[in-house]
C-alpha cells in the first residue's frame, strides 16, 4: 500500500525539543518554593536500624525535615496497596515502613532542605546505628536452597517440558552438556530516577515522574497515600531512557510524594548514580544446557535449566528457559527454572528480560553442538528450523527467520568463513566470526486513545503511554497523519499524562502495536464522522458514500474512483459548522484470532571480533543483523531501536558486570566509571536489515515491535566469534580481556 508517512524514514517529531534542551525531564520542572530531598541509603544488607540520629542534621538552618521509619505517618496497611502493574509475586518493598533492613542501599531516610547542596550535606550528618544480621547474597553457593520459579505474572510462561527428554538424551548419538553464566546488569538510563511532586491547594498532587507508565505511578501513589486518583496528575513527557527501570514506581516517587504531602510544599527527589544500582537489576543466571542430536544435526533432546536470583520478599520470574521450543524443532524438551532468594532487592525487567540471557546460553550451546557435529553453525540452525512453536503446538503468526539468516549471512560474507578456530589472522589479531539467532515476543495489549480534529484541520491524538526514546510520539503522529491524510506538521501527539486515555506500561515491545492500533482506530472514527458530515453537504458527491469508496489524502476526502472528486477536510468542518470533532476509542487485541498462533519477532545476528593475541583485547568489528519484526512504521526510528539493541548486546558481551561484595552484600562498582557500558570507541560497524513482512495477527496495523529483538542473540554471536577466533570457549559474560588472556595464552 502506498503511504505518505507510515514506513518512511521520518525525523522524530520531538527532535527539535531534544536538540535544543527544551525537552523537560522529571527533575526539570520547577515550582515556587521547590525544596530538595536527598535519600539516605542503608549501609548494611540485613538487620535492623537500632537508632537513627537526625539531631545534628536538623539543626542546620535550611533543613526542613528528615523522614525516617520513626516519623513516617501510617500509610496503607496491606501489601496489596504497594503492588504495581509490574509487580512480581510477593510482598512489595515498603519504603520507611519499619526498622527492618532487607537489602543493602535500602532507602532509610529522606532529608529535605531548601537547596540540594544543603540536603546532601545534612544527609552526611545523620547517624545510623544498625543491628547487623547475617545476610546471603551468593547465588552460586545457594543452589540447594532453590525454589521453583513460578507464580502469576503478566507475560511469564512457567516452564513446561514436552516429550521424554531423559530417554531421548540417553539414546542419542551426539551429546553436549554445558553451563553458562552471566553477571548482574543494571539499566543505567542516562537520566537518574527523579520525581518532582507539587502539592496543590486542593490537596491534590501534580507529579512529574520518570516512569514507563504514568497510570502505574498514579495507581501506586493513590493506593499507598489514600488519595483519589482524580486528584493526582502524573506527567512524564520525556523520559531519559529506562529500559525497564521505569516499569515499576521507584522509591524516589514514594519519597517525594510523602514529603510533599507532609510539608505541603513542592519537593524534588533525584537519585544519585550509585542509588541507580539499588532498585532492581537483570538477575544473574546460571544456566545448564544438555543438547542431543543425530549425526545429521537433528535435535533429539534439549534440556535448558536456569538458576536465578531474587529477593526475600518477591519472586521475580522471567522467561529464561522457554526459548528452545520456539526456536527449534525438537520433540523432547526439558525446562527447569529455579529461583534462589537472597538478601537483595528484587530484580527488575531489563530490556528483553529473560530472552537476552536465555537465548545467550542456548545459542552459545548450539554453536558448541555445531562444532561437535563438525557442521556449519548456520546449517545446524536451518536443519532444526521450525514453523511451529513446539510447546504451544501452534504455528507462528509470521516468521521470516529463514530469510533473516539468508540476508544477514550474505551481507556478512558467512560463506567465506574458514570453520577452523584460530584459522584467520590479521597481524597480531586473531579474527573470529560467529552467529546466533534471536527471538522475542510480539504482543498487543489493550490501549485507548482519543483524538480531536479542529476546524482548521489540526489534529491532536493522545494516549497515556510513554516515549522513552522509542519514538512513540513520532509513530503516533505518522499513523494519525496517514489515516486522515494530513501533513505530520498538523498533528500533535500527546502522551505521558495520566489524564489521557488508558495505555498499559510502555514495555515488552508492545507499544507500537497497541497504542498504534488505538490511534489508528480513533482516527478511523474521525474519518467516518467526516465522511458522514461530508455526505450531508448540499450537492455533496459523497452522499451515501462508504469508507471503502474514499481515501483521505492531502487534507481532502477523495473519491477512490475519481481523483478530481474531492472535498477539503476543513471545508467539511466549515460547511457543517463543526468546531471540533472529538472521538475516543479502545483497541482490544483479538484474543480468539491471536490464540491460534505463537507470536514472535526473530533475528539473525552475525559478528566479527578481533582479539590481540598478546594483549587479549577484544574488539567487535562488525555486526550484521536481519530482523523480522512485522511492519516497520518508521524506518529511521526503528533502525535506531535495533541499533541500540545491538549496542546493548556488545555491552552485555564484553563489558557489563556488577561486582557484589559479599562481605557487605553490596554492588561495589556502582557508578559509570567502574560499571562499564559500551562507549563510542567500542562500536563496530552495524548493518541492519528489516525483512519485509506484515503481521496482522499480532496487531491490526501489522506491527510486531522492535524494542527488544535487536539485543537478543548478539552476545551469543560475539561469544561464538570469540571461540572461532581463539579456539577457546568462554562461558561467562562479560568476556573480558583477563578471561580472554588466560584462555588465549593457554594454547
Amino acid at each position: 500500500m502506498a503511504t505518505n508517512h507510515i514506513g518512511k524514514p521520518k525525523n522524530r517529531v520531538d527532535g527539535l525539543k531534544k536538540v535544543t534542551g527544551s525537552a523537560k525531564y522529571a527533575a526539570e520542572f520547577n515550582a515556587p518554593g521547590l525544596v530538595h530531598g536527598v535519600v539516605i541509603s542503608s549501609a548494611i544488607a540485613k538487620g535492623r536500624i537500632k537508632a537513627i540520629d537526625t539531631h545534628d542534621a536538623l539543626e542546620i538552618e535550611g533543613v526542613l525535615h528528615i523522614f525516617t521509619h520513626e516519623n513516617t505517618p501510617g500509610l496503607a496497611w496491606f501489601d496489596l496497596s504497594y503492588k504495581d502493574m509490574d509487580s512480581p509475586p510477593g510482598a512489595p518493598f515498603r519504603p520507611l515502613h519499619s526498622d527492618e533492613i532487607q537489602f543493602n542501599m535500602q532507602p532509610i531516610a529522606l532529608v529535605v532542605a531548601e537547596t540540594l547542596e544543603l540536603a546532601r550535606f545534612a544527609a552526611l550528618r545523620v547517624k545510623v546505628e544498625y543491628e547487623v544480621e547475617t545476610h546471603n547474597t551468593k547465588l552460586a553457593d545457594s543452589l540447594d536452597e532453590a525454589i521453583e520459579g513460578k507464580g502469576f505474572r503478566a507475560g511469564f510462561e512457567p516452564p513446561k517440558s514436552i516429550g521424554k527428554f531423559e530417554e531421548a538424551y540417553e539414546a542419542a548419538d551426539i551429546k553436549l552438556e554445558t553451563e553458562y553464566f552471566h553477571g548482574a546488569e543494571h539499566h543505567n538510563p542516562m537520566e537518574m530516577h527523579a520525581s518532582t511532586v507539587i502539592y496543590e491547594e486542593d490537596g491534590g498532587l501534580t507529579i512529574y515522574d520518570k516512569t514507563q507508565g504514568v497510570l502505574n505511578s498514579r495507581h501506586y501513589v493513590s493506593m499507598i497515600f489514600g488519595i483519589k486518583r482524580k486528584k493526582i496528575k502524573v506527567i512524564s513527557p520525556f523520559v531519559g531512557g529506562a529500559f525497564g527501570s521505569g516499569l515499576r514506581p521507584q522509591y524516589q516517587l514514594f519519597m517525594a510524594t510523602l514529603a510533599a504531602l507532609e510539608l505541603k510544599r513542592p519537593v524534588k527527589v533525584e537519585l544519585t548514580r550509585p542509588q541507580m544500582f539499588s532498585f532492581g537489576h537483570r538477575p544473574i543466571t546460571i544456566q545448564k544446557l544438555k543438547l542431543a542430536a543425530s549425526p545429521d544435526g537433528s535435535l533429539q533432546a534439549v534440556s535448558h535449566s536456569a538458576y536465578s536470583e531474587t529477593s526475600r520478599f518477591e519472586k521475580y520470574v522471567e522467561n529464561v528457559v522457554n526459548w528452545p521450543k520456539k526456536l527449534y524443532r525438537c520433540e523432547n524438551v526439558e525446562e527447569i527454572y529455579k529461583l534462589v532468594q537472597l538478601d537483595m532487592y528484587t530484580p527488575l525487567d531489563m530490556r528483553a528480560p529473560g530472552g537476552a540471557t536465555g537465548v545467550y546460553a542456548l545459542e552459545s550451546a548450539m554453536d558448541e553442538l555445531a562444532y561437535k557435529l563438525n557442521m556449519n553453525p548456520l546449517e545446524l540452525r536451518l536443519r532444526n528450523y521450525t514453523d511451529e512453536d513446539k510447546g504451544k503446538e501452534k504455528p507462528f503468526s509470521s516468521k521470516t527467520l529463514k530469510e533473516c539468516y539468508r540476508v544477514a549471512a550474505e551481507k556478512f560474507g558467512w560463506s567465506q568463513r574458514n570453520p577452523e578456530p584460530r584459522s584467520t589472522r590479521e597481524g597480531h589479531n586473531l579474527v573470529g566470526w560467529g552467529m546466533a539467532s534471536g527471538i522475542w515476543d510480539a504482543m498487543q495489549t489493550p490501549a485507548r486513545a482519543k483524538a480531536r480534529l479542529s476546524a482548521d484541520g489540526k489534529l491532536e491524538v493522545g494516549s497515556a503511554t510513554a516515549d522513552i526514546g522509542t519514538g512513540t510520539y513520532t509513530i503516533m503522529t505518522q499513523i494519525a497523519a496517514e489515516t486522515l491524510g494530513l501533513p505530520m506538521e498538523q498533528v500533535t501527539a500527546k502522551l505521558g499524562d495520566s489524564s489521557l486515555p488508558f495505555a498499559f506500561l510502555e514495555g515488552g515491545s508492545t507499544t507500537a502495536a497497541s497504542v498504534g492500533t488505538a490511534v489508528k482506530y480513533v482516527c478511523d472514527k474521525i474519518a467516518r464522522k467526516l465522511l458522514k458530515e461530508a455526505g450531508k453537504i448540499d450537492d455533496s458527491p459523497f452522499k451515501g458514500a462508504k469508507m471503502e469508496d474514499v481515501v483521505f489524502r492531502d487534507e481532502n476526502i477523495v473519491d477512490k474512483q475519481d481523483d478530481s472528486v474531492f472535498i477539503p477536510i476543513t471545508e467539511v468542518m466549515k460547511l457543517r459548522g463543526l468546531g471540533t470533532i472529538q472521538k475516543k476509542t479502545t483497541a482490544l487485541p483479538n484474543f480468539l484470532k491471536q490464540n491460534k498462533y505463537s507470536r514472535n519477532t526473530h533475528s539473525a545476528v552475525f559478528a566479527e571480533v578481533k582479539i590481540d593475541e598478546d594483549l587479549g583485547t577484544i574488539k567487535v568489528t562488525r555486526i550484521v543483523t536481519a530482523i523480522d519484526a512485522g511492519r516497520i512504521l518508521n524506518a529511521k526510528t526503528a533502525h535506531s531501536q535495533i541499533l541500540g539493541g545491538v549496542v546493548w548486546g556488545v555491552s552485555m558481551a564484553l563489558e557489563e558486570d556488577s561486582f557484589m561484595d559479599h562481605h557487605y552484600g553490596r554492588f561495589i562498582n556502582h557508578d559509570l566509571a567502574e560499571y562499564h557500558i559500551a562507549v563510542n570507541a567500542d562500536m563496530p560497524d552495524i548493518d541492519i536489515t528489516f525483512v519485509e513482512e506484515e503481521d496482522h495477527v499480532v496487531s491490526p496495523i501489522g506491527v510486531k515491535g522492535v524494542g527488544e529483538i535487536g539485543l537478543v542473540g548478539v552476545a551469543a554471536a560475539i561469544g561464538n566469534a570469540v571461540y572461532h577466533a581463539t579456539g577457546k570457549r568462554i562461558r561467562s559474560l562479560p568476556i573480558t580481556l583477563d578471561k580472554a588472556m588466560s584462555e588465549v595464552s593457554a594454547i
Partner: protein
C-alpha cells in the same frame, strides 16, 4: 576562604554557604550571581538558573551528559565549581540556536537520528562542537575515541559519529 583545617563539620558548612559574588556570561547574557562555594556549574545552571538543558547523568564526570562549552572548550560542568569561573563565558545547549535557526550540529542530530531518549544529547552536541574546535580528530577512530567521554545508553553512537564526520567535513570546507 580560610586555610586552616576545619575542626568541625559545622566549619565546613559555614564556608560552604558563605556566598560569593561572581559574574558569568551564559549564552550571551550577563549574570551577576551570589553563589555558594559548594555549587557546581552544573547545579548552578540546572537548580539555580533553571537552565535545565544541561543534564545530570552521574554528577561524577563519568558520563558527559553535563558537557558545556566554557570559553569554547568542552568540559564536564559537574566537575567544576561555579565560584572558580568568575568572568567566564559559558555556552550551553540553550545558546546554540540563533535567529537563523538551529546550529548545523543540532540539525544534523535530528537528520541522522543521533539520539533516542535525548538525555545525553545536549552533552553530545556540545562535545561535538568542542571536538571540532580542538582540531584533533582526523580519522574515524579519532572521532570514536574523542567522543567516548559522552555515554549514550540508547546506543546512538554510530549515528552520532555520522554527525561528527559531517560537521568536521563542513568545518574543513569553511576553513581556508
Amino acid at each position: 576562604m580560610r586555610n586552616q583545617p576545619h575542626e568541625t563539620i559545622e566549619d565546613v558548612r559555614s564556608d560552604a554557604i558563605e556566598k560569593h559574588h561572581i559574574s558569568l556570561t551564559i549564552n550571551g547574557t550577563s549574570y551577576n550571581l551570589e553563589v555558594e562555594p559548594w555549587t557546581s556549574v552544573l547545579d548552578l545552571l540546572r537548580e539555580h538558573l533553571n537552565l535545565t538543558g544541561t543534564k545530570k547523568g552521574c554528577d561524577h564526570g563519568q558520563c558527559g551528559a553535563c558537557t558545556i562549552l566554557l570559553e569554547g572548550k568542552r568540559i564536564n560542568s559537574c566537575l567544576t565549581l561555579a565560584i572558580m569561573h568568575d568572568g567566564a563565558e559559558i555556552t550551553t545547549i540553550e545558546g546554540l540556536a540563533n535567529n537563523d535557526g538551529l546550529h548545523p550540529v543540532q540539525q544534523a542530530f535530528i537528520e541522522h537520528d543521533a539520539f533516542q531518549c535525548g538525555y545525553c544529547t545536549p552533552g553530545q552536541i556540545c562535545s561535538t562542537i568542542g571536538l571540532i574546535h580542538e582540531g584533533k580528530a582526523k580519522t574515524l577512530d579519532d572521532i570514536r575515541d574523542l567522543m567516548s567521554g559522552n555515554i549514550c545508553r540508547c546506543g546512538a553512537y554510530n549515528n552520532i559519529v555520522k554527525v561528527v564526520q559531517e560537521a568536521l567535513e563542513n568545518h574543513k570546507n569553511q576553513t581556508p
